[in-house]
């Protein structure tokens, strides 16, 4: 196991991870994770037996390997979130990065969690749909609230992914343009057609006007 100082070291370079490699299992079944870090001092390889990352503010550490309870190197982030952490808001739908139903925010970016291995997330800060609600006041994120007010979903299977893509955009740019909103959601597949009310909700939050859709009363406006 690594000492605290190494963890801090990794933490400080977590945005510069380039390559992660896994070794063969040891007699105890544990695999060694090698992480190549590009720093101003050149390439540095760091070895770890576990993967550590934060999900919705809570730190998790998993041994890497095939034995019961360990995270095998082939496990994707969406599998870890859903099966081990019981965070089932991200859906495993197409499993090939094409539908966006598994979208979570990793270190500020919206990513398809089916397309990244959990061992690649060492040192990362991950937010899932379950992490948007205030854990103390239970107040929803403004995007979540607006989605309810504008009825921005039908079956709701793709909705968590859409909200997380939108959230990542709004975190980077609180008032994105209409085009930026649409581009940010281009990786999210919805087949019921919630697109117009999703765009209405996000356009309203960003202060955009659009003639792409009709606007009728929101939840609060219906007496």
């Amino acid at each position: 196991m690594l000492g605290r100082s190494t963890e801090l070291f990794i933490e400080s370079y977590r945005n510069t991870f380039a390559i992660t490699k896994c070794g063969p299992p040891s007699l105890a079944g544990i695999r060694i994770l090698s992480i190549k870090i590009l720093s101003d001092k050149g390439e540095i390889w760091v070895e770890k037996q576990s993967v550590v990352f934060t999900v919705n503010g809570q730190k998790h550490e998993f041994l890497i390997g095939e034995k019961t309870g360990m995270v095998p190197p082939s496990e994707t982030l969406v599998e870890t979130l859903r099966k081990r952490l019981e965070l089932t808001g991200a859906k495993q739908s197409c499993d090939e990065g094409a539908c966006g139903c598994c979208t979570v925010i990793k270190d500020g970016d919206a990513i398809a969690s089916c397309m990244i291995l959990t061992v690649q997330c060492d040192g990362s800060e991950i937010t899932t749909i379950e992490g948007l609600e205030d854990p103390v006041t239970h107040e929803l994120d403004p995007i979540q609230k607006k989605f309810i007010d504008c009825y921005s979903f039908q079956c709701g299977y793709c909705t968590p992914g859409i909200i997380m893509s939108a959230k990542a955009l709004f975190m980077k740019k609180p008032e994105p343009t209409a085009a930026e909103i649409r581009d940010a959601l281009s990786g999210n597949y919805c087949r019921c057609i919630s697109h117009y009310t999703v765009l209405e909700a996000l356009d309203k939050l960003a202060g955009n006007k659009s003639d792409q859709y009709e606007i009728v009363n929101e939840a609060g406006e219906e007496k």
Binding site: T88, K91, F147, Y157, I163, Y196
Partner: protein
């Protein structure tokens, strides 16, 4: 329609169940307005439960080995190595299949067979501790096949030299499937629309058109959530099944006969999109049930996206070879021909869709007196066709509307006028899918709805004539098109509901509990059920609880198909609520004494004498201690309220690249009465998804018919569809004419909201480029070919 008339039609003026105050009926409190769904918070926080989020203790995972060939015989299969993998509980092949596990109507396809009928057909089932172990084990199954000749087209499959796919299974002795299906046609098979005298009809025709028109690429509805199920065998004949089905009742109805000596208890969760396509889930459920029986453990199967695309049900293939006549007045006067329906490698009640298709054609051409439109359902070696939103009508219309266009073009008539004239009006008769004559008592306002939609769209200015672009800006040509379709399934099948009025301990408040077996698969019908009860019983919507969808703990509801939810759930729930209300009124009248029940009003679980709120008693105190007041209501199947949806499309075609983009999409209807202002718009917008609008320009399933026989569009990168940043402008026009459908006058619409959009888009593309395009999908290659042929002719 004048604005005054329109205004009178709107806004709940007929709410006879609203409380009377100061001698006046009050307007609707909830009907017509957007009300937040009870599961909304769970949806946006990711805590709503879908099947894959749920586990059963000791559950194991089934995976399916699928055929790599379109048609082959298994000559050797060895599963010993697979069985030896640690963690594997069973590996099952056709050799292990008990008697009677057979699919289709007539029953013709074993769940596991020595012959495989399409690339993707199940060959072996493995159930193991994990999905990965099951997948790994299936790789060790040794199979040898003898390839058999395959056929990939309905018309080809009817030729005398075509290989017979299911020998001895159909009366025809060929690939033509027996017509009729008992549940949908209890009076006997019906597959051919005959009426009047076709020869006489053609004499009346001033313009005729003839030919073969196709909508045959069997596109995929591709719900975001793949099909899946968990089956637990409870011993004896009892199975508990959790399924991604939009209808527990249909799931039970279809699968009980297929699992011999079984009694199924079906439960559903939130369903991640279905569009009619996730209902019986027979293959998934039977595979799990077989493995559950063998292992004694609960078994889950959740398809991968590729399995969903290559082996779950697609839209049926549709080709129509017909002749049609249009008279001088713009009325279709005769149609003769045959509709060839490709059902792929399984006919599972496709015959019901054929009945609906023929019915919808009559609704659109209701003034046509002379019909001879035959149909043939044909098996081929493709992925099975099944139920998809549009239900036969969309597939027939997409082809038939192109034939209708040919005559309108010859006559140089504005399609808006022709569609308006020919559409069904009150009193017109038609044969619906049960093979019986029905007479419409639906809205009189459908032509007005078409006109209003056209007005909002700006049709008059944009329509320049057939094969004439609206405008050409440089190398970009703009064209417009339209289409209309209707559906009488909005009142199909029976439904019943209980509504229970449950007081709290002191009777100051309480709960209304609606039992109606409603699954939420996106349409908001659970919310509508709550709304109906809240409106009748005058309680806040959040005081209404709709019970969990479940085939045992609820009375019968056939399910949300054919847009039937609005009328059928509406009628059953409002009648049940009214029944409860009448009981309360009778009890309260007796309580106060010397008063008629009609003078009792109820509000927030209190009963009071009208205009005398001081004379008030908690409903709780009216009946026997602790017991509920329970109302019962039912809807009995009827097909006399056909709906209507028109679509208007504007496209921009790049004349150099042939790329057509839909830039505006509009649909309109007379909905009777809006139940929910936002949900109805979502249903209309839904006509873009689930293989509707974009089947005109890019959605298609492509098969390697010359080589492997496999579907090439087997993942979401290959199966092309519209991303979020390429959506057209959408608008809608909705009339509310208050026909007598049920207490709240609404008519369902989602089934057909995009059904005429593909044919409308081809009309628009043809107009933009000045040449007829009849091929689905009109890809850049198709459009460029049409442009070049036009240039050659010139």
């Amino acid at each position: 329609m004048t604005e005054k008339v329109e205004a009178e039609y709107k806004g709940g003026i007929h709410n006879y169940e609203a409380a009377i105050k100061d001698g006046k009926q009050q307007p609707y409190r909830h009907i017509g307005k957007y009300r937040v769904r009870a599961d909304a918070r769970k949806i946006v926080t990711g805590t709503a439960t879908f099947l894959d989020d749920f586990t059963v203790p000791h559950m194991i995972y089934a995976r399916i080995l699928r055929s790599p060939y379109a048609h082959a015989k298994i000559t050797r299969i060895d599963v010993e190595k697979a069985k030896a993998v640690p963690g594997v509980h069973c590996v099952l092949t056709y050799k292990d299949l008990p008697k009677g596990w057979i699919l289709g109507w007539p029953p013709h396809k074993l769940l596991l067979d020595q012959t495989v009928y399409f690339a993707g057909d199940p060959v072996a089932i493995c159930a193991a501790d994990t999905k990965d172990i099951a997948d790994e084990a299936l790789e060790l199954v040794e199979v040898e096949y003898e390839k058999l000749p395959a056929v990939f087209d309905a018309v080809e499959a009817l030729k005398p030299d075509a290989p017979v796919i299911f020998p001895g299974k159909f009366k025809s002795g060929t690939n033509e499937v027996d017509p009729g299906v008992p549940h949908f046609q209890p009076e006997g098979p019906w597959w051919r629309m005959e009426n009047g005298d076709v020869e006489e009809g053609f004499k009346e025709a001033k313009w005729t058109a003839e030919g073969m028109f196709e909508f045959n690429k069997m596109p995929a509805p591709n719900a975001p959530e793949p099909p899946g199920a968990i089956v637990r065998w409870e011993g004896g004949e009892d199975y508990t099944i959790w399924a991604t089905s939009q209808s527990p009742y249909i799931c039970k109805l279809y699968n009980e006969p297929r699992i011999p000596h079984s009694s199924l208890h079906i439960k559903t969760f939130n369903v991640g999109g279905s569009y009619g396509n996730k209902q019986s889930l027979s293959v998934t459920i039977l595979c799990c049930a077989l493995a559950a029986q063998v292992t004694g453990l609960p078994v889950k199967n959740f398809m991968s996206k590729t399995e969903q695309l290559v082996a779950h049900e697609q839209r049926l293939g549709s080709k129509i070879k017909a002749k049609i006549g249009l008279n001088e007045d713009g009325i279709f006067c005769a149609i003769k021909g045959c509709w060839y329906v490709d059902t792929g490698a399984l006919a599972d009640a496709v015959q019901g869709q054929v009945g609906v298709g023929l019915g919808e054609a009559q609704i659109v051409m209701a003034k046509c007196k002379n019909w001879d439109l035959d149909s043939k359902v044909v098996a081929t070696n493709k992925c099975p066709a099944g139920i998809v939103r549009g239900y036969g009508g969309q597939e027939l219309n997409s082809a038939l509307a192109r034939l209708m266009s040919e005559t309108m073009r010859q006559a140089d008539m504005n399609p808006l006028e022709v569609f308006k004239k020919n559409y069904i009006s009150k009193g017109d008769k038609f044969i619906w899918r049960d093979g019986l004559w029905w007479q419409s008592r639906s809205s009189m306002m459908y032509p007005e709805a078409m006109q209003k939609t056209a007005d909002v769209f700006g049709w008059d200015k944009k329509w320049k004539g057939w094969l004439v672009p609206t405008s050409v800006n440089g190398r970009k040509a703009i064209g417009v098109g339209m289409g209309v379709i209707g559906n009488a399934d909005v009142g199909e099948d029976n439904t019943e509901a209980f509504v229970r009025v449950v007081g709290d301990i002191k009777g100051r408040g309480g709960r209304v509990i609606v039992q109606c077996d409603l699954t939420e698969s996106g349409m908001g019908q659970r919310a509508a059920g709550a709304k109906f009860a809240a409106e009748v019983l005058h309680v806040p919507i959040d005081k209404v609880y709709v019970t969990e969808p479940d085939s045992i703990n609820n009375p019968t509801n056939f399910g949300l198909c054919g847009s039937r939810g609005t009328i059928t759930t509406g009628k059953a729930v409002t009648r049940a609520a009214l029944d409860a209300k009448h009981k309360i009124q009778a009890l309260a009248a007796a309580y106060f004494g010397n008063i008629s029940p009609d003078q009792i009003e109820i509000e927030n679980f209190q009963a009071f004498i009208r205009d005398r709120p001081d004379k008030c008693v908690p409903i709780k105190k009216l009946g026997p201690k602790d017991l509920n007041i329970i109302g019962y209501g039912q809807h009995i199947e009827q097909f006399d309220m056909p709906s209507c949806c028109c679509c208007f499309v504007e496209v921009e075609v790049d004349l150099d690249t042939g790329l057509a983009k839909v830039t505006r999409f509009m649909n309109g209807t007379d909905i009777g009465q809006i139940i929910d202002n936002r949900m109805v718009r979502m249903q209309l917008q839904g006509g873009i998804g689930s293989a509707c609008l974009d089947t005109a320009t890019y959605e298609e399933c492509i098969y390697d018919t010359e080589g492997t026989g496999r579907m090439l569009t087997s993942n979401m990168l290959e199966y092309k569809w519209r991303p979020f940043n390429e959506f057209p402008q959408h608008k809608s026009a909705i009339l509310e004419s208050q026909p007598d459908s049920f207490m709240f006058k609404g008519i369902g619409i989602g089934e057909i909201s995009g059904a005429a959009s593909a044919s409308a888009t081809l009309m628009a593309i043809s107009n933009a480029i000045g040449a007829v395009v009849n091929e689905y999908p009109a890809t850049p290659a198709v459009i460029l070919k049409a442009i070049k042929e036009k240039a050659k002719k010139a």
